[in-house]
């Protein structure tokens, strides 16, 4: 009897997960955003290659000029950098379009059912609400990790097609770790979208609250902790400027650093892709990876709680 119940739970979970994935893939909104993200992944590799090649050419021209004027020629900055730097724009695109796509996927995973008014029907079945929540979160995780896997594949192909940028074993490991971190970052925003879609009474609140949170994480918090202006936050190199030596930034760094998720992700990405300035010091009270892990775990439980308190007898949004 106990085994039968467990098999039933697994079947329920699998059914809900599969159905959520199929529904999301049928939603044009989700598909368009995901496609846009993947196009940008491709663009990112091209931009990295184009910019690096241009800097190299500028160096060669400058070296000719310096030699002609009997001046010392400094080392080529391009040779100082790791080939992984080619993908530095990826960190920006994951935190921009990737996070937005994750919010929409998370939102759609629950909102699809609420808008179709199927919750009362599901509530009339012998379904444990907790399993419904686990199924949805599992579906979200599979979709977002799938998205990251496709992005990783595109970038791997880019490295294979550009022979001047070769990676050693450590480089591939770093790249793998970067994609795992990106998956975690997307999951944080996906869970935020899912939790808001479950908790909110109105459809517009369900979408706008996570988007506002994304704006705060991306543009407001980095300004408070590191004096990074909103537009500088879009440039992977400018966003790593040292915060001014001031008590204010030390205090905000310690207090707000742990919740400044976009900054935490940017720092980890810069470390893994080898473009973090060697003298950069983060004032955050905890290591950036802990910020992401704690946010992921916290939002996981928040999402489970928000789904558990959904009224299965009504379900639909009010406005």
């Amino acid at each position: 009897m106990h085994i039968t119940t467990e098999i039933g739970s697994v079947n329920t979970l699998t059914t809900i997960t599969r159905q959520a994935i199929i529904n999301s893939l049928r939603d044009q909104t989700v598909v368009i955003l995901v496609l846009l993200f993947l196009i940008l992944v491709l663009v990112s590799a091209y931009l990295g290659w184009s910019a690096t090649t241009t800097v190299n050419m500028i160096y060669l021209h400058s070296a000719e000029f310096l030699v002609a004027h009997d001046r010392p020629v400094p080392p080529n900055p391009v040779l100082d950098t790791s080939p992984l730097v080619l993908l530095r724009n990826m960190a920006t695109y994951v935190s921009l379009i990737g996070a937005l796509a994750a919010i929409v996927v998370g939102y759609q995973t629950i909102a699809g059912d609420r808008k179709a008014e199927v919750l009362p029907l599901l509530g009339s079945r012998p379904l444990i609400q907790k399993h419904y929540g686990y199924g949805k979160i599992l579906a979200l995780t599979i979709m977002l990790l799938g998205l990251v896997a496709i992005a990783a594949l595109i970038n791997t192909l880019a490295f294979m097609l550009l022979p001047e940028f070769t990676l050693d074993a450590t480089g591939w490991l770093r790249l793998g770790a970067f994609y795992l971190t990106s998956g975690l970052y997307l999951l944080v925003f996906g869970l935020l979208g899912l939790a808001c879609a479950s908790y909110a009474r109105s459809e517009s609140v369900a979408l706008l609250v996570p988007v506002t949170c994304w704006l705060i994480f991306t543009f407001v918090l980095p300004q408070l902790t590191s004096n990074i202006n909103p537009v500088a936050a879009l440039n992977p190199v400018s966003a790593l400027a040292d915060p001014p030596e001031s008590t204010f930034f030390q205090i905000t760094g310690i207090l707000l650093g742990p919740v400044s998720l976009a900054e935490a992700y940017r720092l980890i990405s810069a470390q893994l892709l080898d473009f973090l300035p060697p003298d950069y010091v983060s004032h955050s009270a905890i290591a950036p990876i802990w910020s992401l892990l704690l946010a992921g775990v916290g939002l996981h439980f928040t999402a489970i709680w928000a789904i558990a308190r959904m009224d299965m007898a009504r379900g639909a949004y009010h406005g």
Partner: protein, 327 residues
């Protein structure tokens, strides 16, 4: 016909009332104000840190009996504190425009009142103009409130009163911000008016927002060779400005593509205009206003041209009421 009987004005009034009932518009405007004040406060603290560092350096030099001429004193222009504010206005202001535009069309479509309205003796143009009038008043009031609060905060934080000319500069940037935000209002409005499914309209508008407000300037900025290396490639190679220009002549095509991508973005034109007028960009700090306006006419014409084109398209294309009632 009195203004009260003017159908455009009636539509505009109703839209303003509806938008004020809808907490989002007020909330997003409030969010823009909080983000702007945060940016201003942080900029003032960073400047204070620079001044303190300079004062310490001067004391050290004097104690060593050396001349203080070897270090440059930090220059203070109060309007330069507004960099973060302008950037928030271009990002969050555009979101505000999209949400207002989407709401203006979605509210009619959601209540199935659009087709009904167009069966009354008002033309499509009157309906559209009424909606745009409402948006101009709402966005104008919201942005004016934000600019006023930020202007007062500059005085409060820096302790330096703004001159009349500073006020004129702020007013010009406010007008440019209104045009920029209206562009995104038209985008959200047109998308919600023409799209078969409303959620797709919002997604479409946000995709364009991402592309024009964040991605195009980001790509242009990232491709800048001087932004590839921390501190700048030419600084690292110790090449002086005239020689930098000479070397960059060999990369004219690359630079044309890079600036072309940036120029596609109305946000970049708004930023160039605002940074120049407020003296945020170093080369414009302390310069008289008129020559700056002459130099930046292209940016403002670009914004106005795009506004005219989008408005023209909206008025020229006929609304398919049959399609709209199917939503």
């Amino acid at each position: 016909m009195g203004k009260q009987n003017d159908p455009c004005w009636v539509i505009a009034q109703k839209d303003i009332r509806d938008a004020l009932h809808d907490r989002f518009i007020i909330l997003v405007t409030g969010f823009l104000m909080i983000a702007s004040l945060t940016a201003l406060t942080v900029a003032a603290i960073a400047l204070h840190t620079d001044v303190a560092t300079y004062t310490d350096a001067v004391k050290t030099l004097l104690a060593l009996g050396k001349s203080v001429d070897v270090i440059a004193a930090p220059e203070f222009y109060p309007l330069r504190l507004l960099r973060g504010f302008v950037e928030h206005t271009q990002i969050i202001g555009a979101v505000l425009g999209i949400l207002l535009g989407y709401r203006a069309a979605a509210s009619e479509r959601g209540h199935q009142t659009l087709a009904l309205m167009l069966t009354r003796p008002i033309s499509q143009s009157q309906f559209l103009w009424g909606k745009i009038q409402g948006a101009i008043l709402l966005l104008g009031a919201g942005l004016s409130a934000v600019f006023l609060v930020v202007g007062v905060a500059v005085y409060g934080i820096s302790g330096v009163g703004l001159s009349a000319m500073d006020g004129v500069r702020l007013l010009l940037v406010l007008l440019a911000a209104l045009v920029h935000t209206l562009l995104f209002f038209l985008l959200g409005f047109a998308a919600a008016l023409w799209s078969r499914h409303l959620p797709h309209a919002l997604l479409f508008a946000f995709t364009i927002w991402l592309a024009l407000v964040l991605l195009a300037p980001q790509i242009g900025d990232t491709l800048d060779p001087d932004n590839q290396v921390a501190g700048g490639v030419f600084k690292q190679l110790d090449i002086e400005k005239p020689h930098q220009i000479e070397i960059l002549k060999s990369f004219a095509t690359y630079e044309t593509i890079r600036t072309g991508i940036e120029a596609l973005s109305p946000t970049k034109h708004f930023e160039r205009f605002s940074f120049a007028v407020l003296g945020i960009k170093e080369t414009y700090a302390g310069r008289p206003l008129w020559p700056i306006l002459e130099e930046k006419t292209g940016d403002i014409l670009w914004l106005l041209g795009l506004l005219a084109t989008l408005s023209g398209l909206l008025f020229v294309c006929r609304l398919n009421t049959q399609k709209l009632t199917q939503e």
